[in-house]
């Protein structure tokens, strides 16, 4: 067990290292940040001064070495644009992202679980087909498109909901729905297949043999078991939601991490982009690690095979 965890930790460190290298090179391909940081009509000397100020004049490998050295000390650097500590900036945006993710997760579960259960109980019936169409739409319609449609309908046409910004309960509804939409479809599909498996199990057969009402068989004996994998996935997805809301946050001008990332890319604010990608990667790697270890603890077959 210890060996298993150490091995997985090793893999995690290697993947994060590769991610840091990739993102470091990638941001530098997007162009020169100095151009965006000076007044229009600035001289070549001004540009050079700015490059020197941020250490961008040094060879790439020296820059990367210094980036890693700072990283090792927990220092993610200073934002070129905001001129503040990147970590502080990140933490100031995190609560908005958490709120958005929590509401989006609630939407995705409230929609995904009941529809998945109905699709499984009425397998191959009308409800199941409707569910399949919904899952297909959910997984294939891009969230910006869903977001724009909602803005058109609820903000422009009906005038019920604010189209952008934050501050009230109303502000969070549309971005959360646009973000949760994709995940609702994913949760529905997993609930359906997990339910179908459980409904074919011997203990559900025994529950029916006991003469229990079908509603009790489904709600008590089947659903509780079927939810285990769904809630595991939801846990992973919550972390994903915090980190992949770039498009939705941009469409709705939601002040979260996704919008910070968008701004970072637009302004070529290298430290911000690097920090967000690395922290997001670390979160995703960590949650996968936890899930793997938990499964290994629960299931002895996984434990001994690896």
């Amino acid at each position: 067990m210890k060996r298993f965890i150490v091995k997985r930790l090793g893999f995690a460190v290697i993947s994060l290292f590769l991610l840091s290298l990739t993102i470091f090179v990638f941001v530098r391909v997007t162009g020169d940040p100095a151009v965006l940081l000076v007044e229009p009509g600035a001289s070549a000397a001004d540009l050079a001064a700015i490059r020197e100020q941020f250490g961008l004049d040094r060879p790439l490998w020296v820059q990367y070495g210094s980036f890693l050295a700072h990283l090792a000390r927990g220092d993610l650097g200073q934002s070129f644009y905001y001129k503040t500590d990147v970590l502080e900036l990140y933490l100031s945006r995190l609560p908005s992202s958490l709120l958005l993710a929590a509401v989006a997760m609630t939407f995705s579960l409230v929609i995904g679980i009941p529809t998945g259960v109905i699709a499984a109980v009425r397998v191959n019936g009308w409800w199941d087909s409707a569910g399949k169409v919904f899952a297909l739409l959910g997984l294939s319609l891009p969230s910006f498109w869903v977001g724009l449609l909602m803005i058109l309908f609820f903000s422009v046409y009906l005038g019920w909901l604010p189209s952008s910004g934050s501050g009230t309960v109303w502000h969070v509804l549309m971005p959360a729905f646009a973000l949760g939409w994709y995940f609702a479809a994913a949760h529905m599909r997993l609930t359906r297949s997990s339910m179908l498996e459980v409904l074919g199990s011997e203990y559900v057969k025994l529950a029916r043999l006991k003469g229990l009402p079908e509603a009790l068989v489904i709600a008590k004996h089947a659903l509780k078991n079927a939810l285990i994998p769904v809630l595991t996935l939801a846990g992973i997805n919550l972390v994903l939601m915090i980190n992949v809301a770039v498009v939705v946050e941009t469409v709705f001008a939601w002040p979260g991490i996704g919008r910070l990332l968008y701004e970072g890319i637009a302004f070529r604010d290298f430290p911000v982009v690097q920090a967000i990608v690395l922290l997001g990667g670390a979160m995703i790697v960590a949650v996968n690690l936890v899930v793997d270890v938990l499964y290994a603890v629960i299931d002895p077959r996984i434990r001994y095979e690896r």
């Binding site: 006991k210 003469g211 229990l212 009790l216 004996h221």
Partner: protein, 321 residues
């Protein structure tokens, strides 16, 4: 009037687009009297479990009961509504599934699962249902029921779980108990204890029982009557003593001859030469003819009817008619 009487029951499995039809139970008639034990024997795939699940109308979605009548305590179960059927299950007819270890829900305590039928069928309060659950565990010889009721299935041994499934089956005092014998059985002594327990419960409570097994040796010890199934059909049925002394059907005769070779009580009935038939494409005429040592010409063309060989002894073989 017998407690249970099946008349010409047929249950088929139909594949998704109706392309393949498996006649898992084909024109089966049989009876079980009060307090009697009927053994059903047959190779794997002969339709024993399907027959049992048909009685309770709890078949997999692909299955259809296509014809027949199921008379139980004077009522035809096939004419009952779903609600009425629910009141039969667990209350008047109980069944122990073939895989008892997988039939307990991993997320609920033993007490909850044993008490559940009492609460649903008799409206018992939680307290009194749990008290009865403890008694039931004692009845199936589980030590320290007070602590066991609060445990989860994974905390118990296989033998204990098997007996708990037995306790659930007898909880509401059913008139008929169907026990589908585990094919992947536990250790032999545990298995013997379990069979002994079932027999004692049956005697003490005056239950009627249908006991499904691969093993004729067990039939000899447990049952009053035996019905032999082959490819969905009942090929021979009668009192145990009579069948063991003068079986009329060549398949039953072959089964009886293979008993000494199953001395350890574990081998399956496939000790007979030849392959079991493909259930989707059964041979024409008598389904047993490709393996039958006494095959006649007409066996290949015409299926033999069920004939009465002696009082309550029937056989489906041209030799008997």
């Amino acid at each position: 009037m017998k407690l249970l009487e099946l008349r010409h029951l047929s249950t088929h499995y139909v594949s998704a687009r109706g392309a393949r039809v498996t006649r898992a139970v084909d024109d089966v008639s049989l009876t079980v009297g009060e307090g009697e034990t009927l053994g059903i024997v047959g190779e794997s795939g002969s339709g024993k479990t399907t027959l049992a699940l048909s009685l309770l109308r709890l078949l997999p979605p692909a299955a259809r009961i296509v014809s027949g009548e199921i008379w139980f305590e004077g009522e035809d179960l096939l004419t009952k509504s779903h609600r009425e059927m629910r009141r039969v299950r667990g209350k008047r007819i109980a069944m122990i599934l073939q895989d008892p270890l997988a039939s307990l829900n991993p997320l609920f305590t033993v007490g909850d699962q044993v008490a559940e039928p009492l609460r649903v069928h008799e409206g018992a309060s939680r307290g009194s249902a749990w008290a009865r659950a403890r008694e039931l565990l004692r009845a199936v010889r589980i030590a320290a029921p007070e602590t066991r009721v609060r445990e989860y299935p994974h905390q118990l041994s296989g033998g204990m779980r098997q007996r708990i499934v037995g306790a659930i089956a007898i909880s509401c005092g059913p008139r008929l108990l169907i026990a589908d014998e585990p094919t992947t059985s536990l250790d032999l002594t545990i298995q013997a204890q379990y069979l002994q327990l079932l027999r004692d419960l049956q005697r003490d409570r005056g239950l009627s029982m249908i006991f499904i097994t691969h093993n004729l040796g067990i039939v000899a010890r447990m049952c009053d009557h035996v019905a032999v199934m082959y490819a969905g059909r009942l090929v021979e049925a009668g009192p145990v003593a009579r069948i063991f002394s003068s079986a009329a059907h060549p398949y039953t005769q072959a089964l009886l001859e293979s008993i000494p070779r199953m001395a350890d009580g574990r081998k399956r009935l496939t000790a007979i030469d030849g392959q079991p038939p493909d259930p989707v494409a059964l041979p024409p005429g008598c389904a047993f003819h490709p393996r039958c040592p006494k095959v006649l010409d007409r066996c290949r063309k015409e299926a033999p009817p069920e004939v009465r060989v002696a009082a309550s002894h029937t056989s489906r073989c041209w030799l008997a008619s």
